[in-house]
Each structure stands twice: as C-alpha cells, then as structure tokens.
Amino acid sequence: MDWHDAFLEQARSDHAILQRLADPAVEYCHRLHYLQMVAEKLAKSMLTPPGSREAPPSSHSAFVRMLQVLKTRPEVRRQLGFEEAAQFKRYIDSLLALAARIEGLAPAQAGLIRPNPEYPWRDPPTVQIHAPARFDFPEFDPRDARLIKLHGLIRDLLRIAR
C-alpha cells in the first residue's frame, strides 16, 4: 500500500465510524472530531500521488485548498453530477467558509484557547475551561443545511476517489 491509498483507506474507515456516531446518546464532539479527521485525511490522500513512497505534508490545512482545486476539475464535476462548471463552482463556494471552520477544529489550529472536539480548552474572555464532551458547538448545528451538504460532499468524494 502507498501513502495515497493508506490515507484514503483511513479516511473511509473514519467515515464509517462517523456514520455510527449519529446516535444521540453519543456526545456531539465525537461526530465533529471524525468529520474533521475524514476531511483532513481525504485531502492528504490527494496531496500524495498514487504510488508515492513519500508521506504527504503534515499540515492540517489542506481541506479548503483541496475543495478550491476540485472545483476546477472536469472529471470531479461530472462524477458528482454537475453539468455546468459555474453551477459546480457555486456549490463548492457555498461550502468554503464552513469547510474552513471544520478545518479549524483540528487541535493544532485551535490550540487550547478555541473550541475543538478533541481536547479541553480555556475560553480567554470568560477564563472558563471547557470539555468538548460538554460543549454544544453552536457554530456546527447538525441540522444546518450547509453542514449536511458538506458532509454529503465528503461522502461523495470518498465514493469517487481512487
């Protein structure tokens, strides 16, 4: 197995776990954690050419950039069922801000001062310490149409990726 296939395989496995976390008894942070990890690993698989023995860059900020490149790709557009490039661009553009916030959930970006779904943090203005498991993540309402759409896009990209 090469790095490309390994990251893609792990992204698909993480996504399978994400699907199982929809149980309302499971704290919401775990769904966000897995969503962020799936996005990151999917992007890293594409940062590595098939057959490569060289690991992808360690950056956590590849997801948004991946989407920006994907919107120019004719084969991706076709496989996702979009006939017009302009329509596909609008679709991707409508998700970029949310994708950036998902990307920002990585602990390496959030640090210990911003909400993230994996590690406790301290909110600077209130000096309150939060545990992800007890935080509602209001910026990521699971009923938000854009979040549902972004999750759908990730699922479709995992389906067509090879």
Binding site: H4, L47, P49, S61, V64, V69, L70, K71, P74, R77
Partner: protein, 102 residues
Amino acid sequence: MAVQHVDPVIERQARLLAVDNRAAEPDIQKIYWFPHDREVRLVELTDQVPQSLDGAVHPFYFRASERDDLAAPSAIAMIRSDEYGVLTLPAEWGDWSDAVEL
C-alpha cells in the same frame, strides 16, 4: 530554461485544463505549466487561497481520466500571486524559470 521534449498529448492536456480551469474559476489570475513527459503539472495563481504555511507548493494529484479527455495524470497547485517564484517547488519540478505561462 531547460530544453526538453514534451509529449504533445501532455501539452494539449495542460492547455485544455488551463482553459477549463479559468472558465471554472475566474479568480485565477495566471496559470503556469511545468513541462514533464508523463504528467501535467500546473501552478495556478489566485488570491482566493490561504497563504502557504510552510513555504512550499503542495499540488493535488489526479489520475488520468480518458472519459474526460484527460489522458495523463495531473498535479495542480493553487498559490497566491505574491507566492509565485518564492515558494519551494516539489522535487523534480525544476525551478521557477522552467514555468511556461499558459
């Protein structure tokens, strides 16, 4: 610039992708091609992407797709216009003087 023979199929695909990508993303200011005999390598300039965090160009890789008239694999990177000529290119891409503006 290094003089090298480039498969016309690769050059055709590079030019086709450049046209297609400009149509898909009007914010792309310039597109540079790094000729290679088996892979289409493009760097696209747009200030819509975030600044590089590590000073390097990191392309995304795509397999060939005959059905979409893309006979060769391709590697596409988007960088900010002020990063052109500054970021480190991937190994084996040559240097910035090898870039051909499309």
